[in-house]
């Protein structure tokens, strides 16, 4: 197999590639934050009676909350802020399909490139 000689990349081309990567990083990480997609579903299950007892706190727990500077009123939103785990099946299926598709593509395309590498490395000798 003949040895592959890659083209030399111009300075402008290098700068362009760097810009592409930076933009991709920011879009991938920043966009979901901007769109409010990051973060789990938590909501406050409000209680009328804001006492340590109603909040399910025993005397030891209540004493610690108070040591930390909380009252039943100020601790209410922390204690009652709960997750509501619901399995959204369509999203789960999409997520699984995206992940599996990604890994399948990754391994298959990598293998094609790897064969070039091995052929050149070992068949040149």
């Amino acid at each position: 197999m003949s040895r592959y000689t890659p083209p030399e990349q111009s300075k402008a081309g290098q700068v362009f590639d760097i810009v592409v990567v930076v933009v991709a990083i920011f879009v991938a990480l920043w966009l979901p934050l901007k769109l409010g997609l990051a973060g789990a579903a938590k909501s406050i299950d409000a209680l009328d009676a804001k006492t340590w007892e109603a909040l399910g706190q025993n005397p030891t727990m209540a004493a610690i909350w108070e040591k930390l500077g909380y009252t039943p009123e100020t601790a209410h939103d922390i204690i009652q802020n709960r997750f509501h785990y619901v399995i959204d099946w369509p999203t789960l299926i999409i997520m699984a399909a995206v992940l599996i598709g990604y890994f399948v593509f990754l391994f298959r395309a990598s293998d094609r490139e790897y064969r070039d590498v091995i052929n050149e490395k070992f068949n040149d000798k």
């Binding site: 990567v21 920011f26 990480l29 091995i118």
Partner: protein, 465 residues
């Protein structure tokens, strides 16, 4: 921890990285990156599933990372090159996988560095208690100063890490023995805080959800391999430093959970940014409170320091192999560090430190980490298949193969499900990003890559090719 002769590592005819590090530096790099997870982050798993769920995932995720450390030790002690898992992927799976793995590493470490800087800034602001004081200047100072330290040299960077990591670790041990852990009721009140009624407030679904932040107990231990090209004896130092680091962390995680769960209600434990500092406060001892305050800052500094080191080396490796513009592959003529990569990643870290909050930054890091662990479980299977035992010289051979790989893969699947329960859209967005950037690499960027040069190990042809 002394060095004798500073001999340059040879990589072609270019100026290259220095081989100056020993096992203590490897330990400091791994534990230094991870130990901050005991000071913040792991406790969000209590929020997800309760205090008992945090303990369950501490051990199960410990199993995941033990598998990671075992697998990584074998492959890295054989493929000792800068970039760690990146170099492994290049030799075992192929260039595209290597490109992705390097991006996983850069994202995981850069976002971990961001989390560290946010923690450090928030801790100082909370301690100062001055109205109107924001964390921004502390975050910027942390990232810039540590980047400068990394720019100046790896030996100085990891010597600093060794000292501050040791102080932070000792502070956990001091806290543990100061609260009479052998008796309940005097200081610790586990029985009254973790009761049958509140141990698992969401049931077993909460335990699974807790996996997401359970990862934070140990995330980054695999970073030891990034120093492979700067270690004097990679086959000995890397497995030794990594396994010693894992044992250290398992002990620290168990002590941390026990003390924190015995000192504060799970609802508070799950939302505080400073569980160990709070534990120090709740003991009533000003000495412990101040010690844990300082240790929180030191742990954050050590972690951010190690992350800058690792992310820059992964990025540097991409440039050196022309997976990215070769401009990034420059080594500083005087300090022998990948200075352009360090400088390039600096503004990215700063930008996300200002736009993301702590648990979002942690989640970014975890997502890339879990993608990488999934790769590792498949990678070791391919490694053993392409070069069975006895065909090449391995520095270390991990036992019970393929059990660790299967355990790792299964736990990664569970963790993906846990991430789905909180950050499913984020996971989909990031995977799509990796997919699109992979298309860009495979169909465009790969043309600049020299094919045969990707394989640098003195191994025979892999079986099946």
């Amino acid at each position: 921890m002394t060095t004798t002769v500073l001999e340059p590592a040879i990589h072609g005819d270019r100026v290259s990285l220095l081989r100056v590090l020993g096992p203590a530096h490897v330990w400091a790099l791994g534990v230094g990156i991870v130990l901050v997870g005991e000071f913040t982050g792991w406790n969000f798993s209590a929020d997800k599933g309760g205090a008992l769920a945090a303990l369950i995932v501490c051990w199960i995720v410990g199993l995941l990372y033990t598998s990671v450390a075992m697998i990584d030790s074998e492959v890295t002690s054989t493929v000792a090159a800068a970039g760690g898992q990146y170099a492994q992927a290049k030799h075992i799976v192929g260039p595209l996988m290597a490109f992705n793995v390097a991006l996983f590493l850069v994202f995981a470490y850069t976002m971990l560095e961001v989390s560290d800087a946010i923690l450090l800034g928030d801790t100082i602001v909370a301690k100062a208690g001055v109205e109107g004081l924001t964390h921004n200047s502390f975050i910027a100072a942390t990232i810039v100063v540590l980047a400068w330290l990394n720019y100046r040299g790896v030996l100085m960077t990891l010597n600093v890490n060794f000292v501050i990591t040791a102080i932070a670790y000792i502070s956990i041990v001091i806290l543990f023995f100061s609260v009479s852990p052998w008796t309940q009721g005097a200081v610790l009140k586990l029985n009254e805080l973790v009761t049958p009624g509140n141990a698992l407030p969401y049931g077993w679904i909460g335990v699974i959800a807790a996996f997401q932040f359970g990862i934070w107990y140990y995330l980054g231990i695999e970073g030891t391999t990034q120093a492979a090209e700067e270690v004097r004896s990679p086959a000995r130092s890397l497995p030794y430093g990594t396994m010693a680091g894992m044992i250290t962390l398992l002990i620290a995680a168990a002590m941390t959970w026990y003390v924190c769960a015995s000192l504060m209600p799970w609802e508070y434990l799950g939302i505080t940014y400073y569980p160990l500092w709070d534990a120090g406060k709740l003991t009533g001892s000003p000495l412990l409170e101040n010690l844990l305050f300082i240790a929180t800052l030191l742990a954050a500094l050590a972690s951010a320091n190690g992350c800058i080191n690792d992310a820059a080396r992964a990025w540097f490796s991409l440039g050196r192999d022309r997976y990215l513009p070769s401009w990034f592959s420059a080594v500083h003529p005087k300090y022998r560090t990948p200075y352009r990569s360090i400088l390039f990643l600096l503004p990215i870290g700063l930008a996300f430190a200002f736009i993301a909050d702590l648990n979002q930054a942690i989640t970014f890091s975890i997502l890339s980490g879990v993608l990488q662990y999934t790769f590792m479980s498949i990678n070791i299977m391919m490694f053993r298949k392409k070069w069975p035992l006895g065909t090449i010289r391995r520095g270390y051979t991990h036992p019970f193969h393929p059990l660790p790989a299967i355990v790792l893969f299964c736990l990664c699947v569970v963790t993906f499900f846990a991430i789905f329960l909180g950050f499913g859209s984020q996971l989909i967005a990031m995977t799509i990003f990796y997919f699109l950037i992979s298309l860009w690499f495979h169909f465009y960027r790969y043309k600049f890559v020299r094919r045969g040069d990707q394989f640098t190990m003195p191994w025979p042809k892999p079986q099946g090719y």
